[in-house]
Symmetry: D2
């Protein structure tokens, strides 16, 4: 049994990690940390976790084999750096090790990177693209919630060179992506029954998309115009990707391409009509629906996932399974809760 620690369990990603890991048969959750709630039982802060009999501590308590850091960026690398150097396997839920380019990181996040030397060690934690490297590293950068649906929704087409390298990614996210915070603008009365765009000047998840899609691309750099939208639901991200087709291709051909590409992926399903995010509620599934608009020569791919599972904690557990040589779906087999 691997001993697991969660740093900053008191956010939504942290709590979701605790939920998933508490049911995982081959690991043992041994330490959960949190600053403001230190000293309280986990079940007092999160009543749905009352059966996990643990007390939140200010720092990691005891030796761990794997640590998940759910701290904000910068703060996360400060904790992860020393742990990594001590030989601990680290899965960083924050953005700190996702970008290969230090200058890109420092420009988008407006902060000095606490451990630039470790960027080269880190693997971008999408097993669907980097499974082998994840198995061989001790430092995984868990993807942002938006990039997973965008990157995997476009990867087959980009790899095949089907579309022009200037794509549009329009995402609709539930509010839990904003985290567990006290802000008037995330209040129920402000967000219920309304939809808006944000990050119009450029959202920080954009460079992850660009980096990963450019790596996948047959012929160089991909440019991504990414606009996220806030919709009145708790969980879920629906992403609609648009790419100009370079030549005529049928929807059937595209569906085959996608099905072949993801044939062995346990969590990716190619579906023939638009998924709805609720079909992934609480599960690690990623649903992809590739379509072709014949009138306009546009590839339109719609993807759906649960931002707190495949978009955060579930992806983290999947990465952990790969790192530990466990079956990749272990602890993640439960279906979505619907409706």
């Amino acid at each position: 049994m691997a001993r697991i620690g969660i740093v900053n369990v008191t956010g939504y990603s942290g709590a979701e990690l605790a939920r998933l890991l508490s049911r995982h048969p081959e690991v043992e959750l041994v330490s959960v940390t949190g600053r403001s709630q230190a000293g309280r039982k986990l079940g007092e802060v999160f009543p749905h976790l009352r059966r996990i009999d643990m007390t939140i501590t200010p720092e990691l308590d005891g030796a761990v084999d794997v640590v998940f850091s759910a701290l904000p960026h910068a703060a996360s690398a400060e904790i992860v750096g020393p742990l990594y150097r001590d030989g601990v396997r680290c899965i960083d839920i924050s953005a700190d090790f996702r970008l290969k380019s230090l200058s890109e990181y420092e420009s988008w996040y407006q902060v000095k990177h606490p451990c630039p030397d470790l960027i080269g060690e880190a693997v971008y934690g999408l097993p669907e693209l980097h499974r082998e490297e994840i198995a061989n590293t001790r430092l995984v950068a868990n993807p942002g919630c938006f990039p997973t649906g965008a990157i995997l929704g476009l990867a087959p087409a980009v790899k095949e060179g089907l579309i022009e390298p200037n794509v549009v990614v329009d995402s609709k996210t539930g509010v839990s992506g904003a985290g567990r915070t006290a802000k008037m603008e995330f209040g129920f009365s402000e967000l219920n029954d309304t939809t808006s765009a944000y990050g119009l000047g450029g959202h920080r998840h954009t460079p992850e998309m660009t980096q990963e899609l450019s790596t996948v691309a047959a012929d160089g750099a991909v440019t991504v115009t990414f606009v996220p939208h806030l919709v009145p639901m708790t969980r879920g991200i629906l992403t609609t990707c648009y790419g100009v087709l370079r030549s005529r291709v049928s929807e059937v051909q595209v569906a085959e391409l996608y099905s072949d590409y993801y044939e062995r992926e346990p969590f990716v399903s190619i579906v023939s009509s638009s998924p709805t995010t609720k079909q992934t509620w609480g599960s690690n599934d990623l649903l992809i629906c590739p379509t072709v608009n014949d009138r306009t020569g546009m590839l339109v791919v719609v993807t759906a996932l649960d931002n707190l599972v495949k978009g955060a904690a579930g992806a983290g557990v999947q990465n952990m399974n790969v790192m530990l040589g466990l079956p990749e779906t272990m602890g993640l087999e439960h279906p979505a809760v619907y409706p």
Copy 2:
């Protein structure tokens, strides 16, 4: 006082027309029709309209000066045709007279047009584009709920030739756009807390967008890839439009262009950050936020409106005011209900 009739008052657009017209100082609602609910008081079917003391009749009851038809397409033209020929001013909420091309209409709607001879008489009911023609016709085709936000969101840029003529329109709509119907897939449990795309094979509002934007364009035809999405809110459409900029332009320049273009429009406001649909709840406002993504050279315009008001009934009342020579904002001055 103009005498007004509403055909098919029992859908959401019909009820919204009744709500707005009941407070209009220069018109009198004299007849409301509905098949399945004929014989019942309007306030029995819609308790919020209990102060409008009218009985729903199967057919128009008495002479009217203006008729709003909120029937489904094809059924609408069948009623509107004879009324128009009798000299009545007609505002058709359905799609029957929106498309100038009969073959486009019959191809998209898969039905034979009941009065093809009247297509040439009809004016597309966007006062922001066709105010004078609306003032001089007796047959107005009220726009679809999606096209208003898309067309007016792109018109200034398209007119100026700022962008390539191949645009992407990604809309997020509340559920009331689906109408007042008994379908399992529109049930609360199915749609709450979830988002999906639909009409991926081509939505019927696309040719309206194409037709109107191509008319506006300095240099010919515009192609529109339009994907609507269903989000869990009752009212509201947020539309995000993407167009590739032909040359470098600043966001400030674009904002000026838009402000100038809509300077005298009473219902259009140019805003500097993304609107949220709730800011238009129950009002006839259209909010437009034009932005420039400098990294990717993309114009991104976000628009918001209430699909039942500026996207349907309110636009109808606005058109009626123009047709009758009344102040255009009459009966539509109330602010949105927020939050």
Copy 3:
């Protein structure tokens, strides 16, 4: 035209007052105050109010005939006291002048009353119970959002002595009642798709219910067990009142009693099946459905209102109309926005 000021316009009640007063034909909004937002335009803080061209000031700016105070309790009385003494008509949206008993006030609100001498001047602002006194005072205590539905839902039965004087009041409220605040527990992710009770130890609106129902009662004191519940909607309060019938009475008799009691009330409607809160969205309506459970001998009365209108700002405007001798419905005639 009476000159109106709103103190603390930046909460939901304040903004709703501005929305309603901006359309009132016989008053002029001349000053709106707010601490944290002072110096900003009203339309910057509340985009739906952009057409009200006013700047928020830290203090009242210029002479006013009527002031609405939407400050929290205690802070409100501190402002209202001097204004009242200066001859201004005051409508206090806070709880400061609702309770006739100083000790009850200080016990429930755990604060020393800033102007105990004015308690005797104040009239409890339910025109349905105290119309004449409201017309003759310069200090109105606007009722809490919950009491209006509970008191008016039970008043006819209590007056007639139909029920035992120990009643249960179970209310379900939308979240806007909690105000416009930055608290994690009022975040969308925490409150969406969930229902809970609160105030189980005793909610501050209880003594208002007790006071007013005891005044109405034929035979003395009424005891109220009141439990409010938070449900995932923005606006609306549904209140279900339970009282043990003293003797057998038919539902028809009760309906007649209620209809007679409220016969001349412009905003109260007796309905024959359960109202749904949305039927009052944005309007000043109060819907009451009295029923009898024959099996258990229980009177069950269900009431619905919009907590920000009839439960706060609309009631305030109604009180203002009574105080100024204007038609009571002026500025409040618009129907609810449905759906």
Copy 4:
């Protein structure tokens, strides 16, 4: 491995049974039936169940050891009767075998009972009250979604004789309780952002509450005034129970009484502040918060559960575990999905 069949898998209870049983380690789902969807794969009707590779058949297909019937009342007994006589263990999700009195059943459900002779064989499926009898029967009547929270919320107080035998039960339910049906009144636009009461003339779950609480009572019959309310959430029932205390008792004493009563119950938790239904989302938990209103001498108990799990399918699996001699929590150990 016990072989399991689900009759009428295509409703929400049926689908939830399939979700839970698919992860149960000691049973095998061998047959799922449905009329209108016969011939389709389960994953086509419910995409979240795509990993259960089964085809829906019109009738049970092959031998089963346990059958769950999720048919409507009357139709259910017609299927269950013959299966029971063939030796199959039956868990009836419908109301057919819940009431011990045939006349009560026929009066509340307005239908002739298809197998009145089996009523005496059936055990009311609340393991918390009838564990031993459930272990020894082959016919379990699964409780209605409302009674579980009401009965278990009041049982300790009723048994102890703490309260008068005339109680009020006020429930707030999510919409999934209404089933997976095509009705306009359950449409998203009708139910979003609104709350209403229903069943004011008497809801069919009332006699279950009366029957079971009267059995528990120290001193005879209990009378229940039950009013359900529809709130805008998908899952969850919050029930607030009111009973007049016969003598003064402290909240601490009541909490102890409740804690003792449910000490060994794996799914019941006594909590010290109001639960919120989301704390049970997708889980079999029942949360109970007993409180005392000292001012009015009222016991107020708030309970929360997921209507599709502890209120339907989860209770069914719990009953199955008891019937088969398996650990009672098997297949039901996962925590709620929060937020």
